[in-house]
Amino acid sequence: MNSVLAAVSQDADIVVAQNVFFGVIAVSMLYAAIRVVTTSNVVHAALWLVVALAGVAANFILLGSEFVAVTQVLVYIGAVVVLFLFGVMLTRASLGDDESVAQEKRSMAAVVGVLLFGVMAFALIDTWSDDRLVIDEPQQVTEVSDSIFSQYIIPFEAISVLLLAALIGAIVVARQD
């Protein structure tokens, strides 16, 4: 086994440690993702979602995109899942298994999931095919901010306005008077 690893690591294009870690992260993400949809407790599903999203952040770190990884933690784990949990606990937070959790809608969800996977896999393979991304060093924050505020300024502003509209819309919907 050692000789195999040594032989592989002599090939400069493959970093063994990274591949091993990617394997570990990918397997735990897959397991967590399957648990999210198979567990019959809503709170457990949200907690497994935390594991899956943390795996995404870890993968971003492996790719050297530290800013995106930290944003993943701040936005998805620190805000989105917290709001899920908050909402679930505020309404119905039964301990133990709840068999009524979307039992009859599972086949529909499976179809949507497979379709989405197909589209995304096709888009990725079609875009990159055999291209190899060269990552020498972690991406600097300044690179991210420079590209957001120069090259991608229009999409950035459009998203900002969209979010503002959603915010105001939420307030209008929630107001009683």
Binding site: V50, G78, V82, A93
Partner: protein, 342 residues
């Protein structure tokens, strides 16, 4: 040049983990002893613990021993795994916060451009631990406490982050080490005697940060989540022994770490006026300076904690959404205008 640069990766990592553990335990211990035991006692005209050791200085060891001996009780209907894991999630978030803190020109755990952004992201994970504790305990009081805590932490995370944005705009970097250097090399109207601590220009942000910090730490007057006269002990109600101790350590260590972040952002961090910030002596003096500033800032936290009555839940939310957040946004606008024009 980092002092650790000649060691291999695993040696560096174990030294960092060890130093991080030490920082968390030492700071939490000092705060409990100095502020929670002695400061509050003196404020109430009593002596506090006096029996264990000279002036009660070994009281902390006695307390830890007491908690370790206690029975580990898990409610029968509790969700065992979630209940057991919750304190570790909260404590892990605190430990990860420590790594961003700089203690001197070469005395740091990790240093990257993310700095304060990483700290704020990691600190937001502790909410999940609190929700897990509140829900997993199978107790109405715990669940109510967990929900109150979450509502409060979400509300006060915004002014906290927005207050930091003002400092980041002025410093031009999110790297905490960079922010310290910006303050050390700055000058006040041409006078560079004490550098330019950002408390002078960002005093609004400093006020916002300290207020939001008090709420993030769920210290009185923002202790609605653990209001002992209404909710027994909030999300911690069902915890005993070792697990209660973990929550307790996390609470005080987080107070220390947030104060350290405030010290870096507003008080110049480890910089001492009169000494060249790149001098080697700063690697020894720096952590001590940080420690003194942390004790000073936590003194304010505990002073407020023991002086003010508790906010009502609706007042608490109103303060965050209708006063602190607009003020923070205003601060960002004003800072940006000054940054561009001056």
């Amino acid at each position: 040049m980092n002092l650790l640069a000649e060691l291999s990766y695993w040696q560096q990592t174990s030294i960092r983990v060890g130093a991080g553990l030490l920082a968390v335990i030492l700071v939490a211990g000092t705060l409990v002893m100095l502020h929670l035991f002695k400061l509050v006692s003196f404020m109430q005209s009593r002596l506090g613990p006096m029996e264990a050791g000279p002036f009660g200085s070994l009281q902390l060891l006695a307390e830890v021993g007491k908690h370790l001996q206690k029975e580990d009780i898990v409610p029968r209907k509790a969700d065992k795994i979630v209940f057991a894991a919750a304190p570790f999630v909260v404590l892990a978030s605190t430990f990860l916060l420590v790594v961003v803190l700089p203690g001197g020109p070469d005395a740091w755990f990790i240093q990257n451009d993310l700095g304060i952004y990483l700290a704020l992201a990691v600190s937001s994970v502790s909410v999940i631990g609190i929700l897990m504790a509140g829900w997993g305990s199978a107790n109405k009081y715990s669940l109510l406490g967990g929900l109150r805590a979450t509502g409060q932490l979400i509300a006060y995370e915004l002014p906290l982050i927005l207050a930091v944005v003002g400092v980041v705009i002025q410093a031009g970097t999110m790297n905490l080490q960079g922010i310290v250097y910006q303050q050390a090399n700055g000058e006040i109207f041409g006078w560079d005697g004490i550098g330019n601590p950002y408390i002078l220009t960002q005093f609004v942000a400093f006020f916002l940060f300290l207020t939001a910090m008090q709420a993030e730490l769920t210290q009185t007057p923002f202790d609605m989540p653990i209001a002992e006269s209404e909710l027994v002990s909030g999300y911690m109600t069902e915890y005993s022994g070792m697990r209660f101790l973990l929550f307790f350590i996390a609470e005080f260590a987080t107070a220390g770490v947030f104060s350290a972040i405030a010290a870096v952002l507003f008080l110049g961090g480890w910089y001492v006026p009169g000494i060249d910030p790149d001098d080697n002596i700063m690697n020894v003096l720096g952590p001590l300076v940080m420690f003194v500033k942390v004790i000073g800032l936590t003194f304010v936290v505990f002073w407020v904690r023991f002086s003010f009555p508790r906010f009502r839940e609706d007042q608490l939310q109103k303060l965050a959404w209708k006063f602190l957040i607009p003020l923070a946004l205003l601060n960002i606008v004003v800072t940006a205008i000054f940054k561009v024009w001056i």
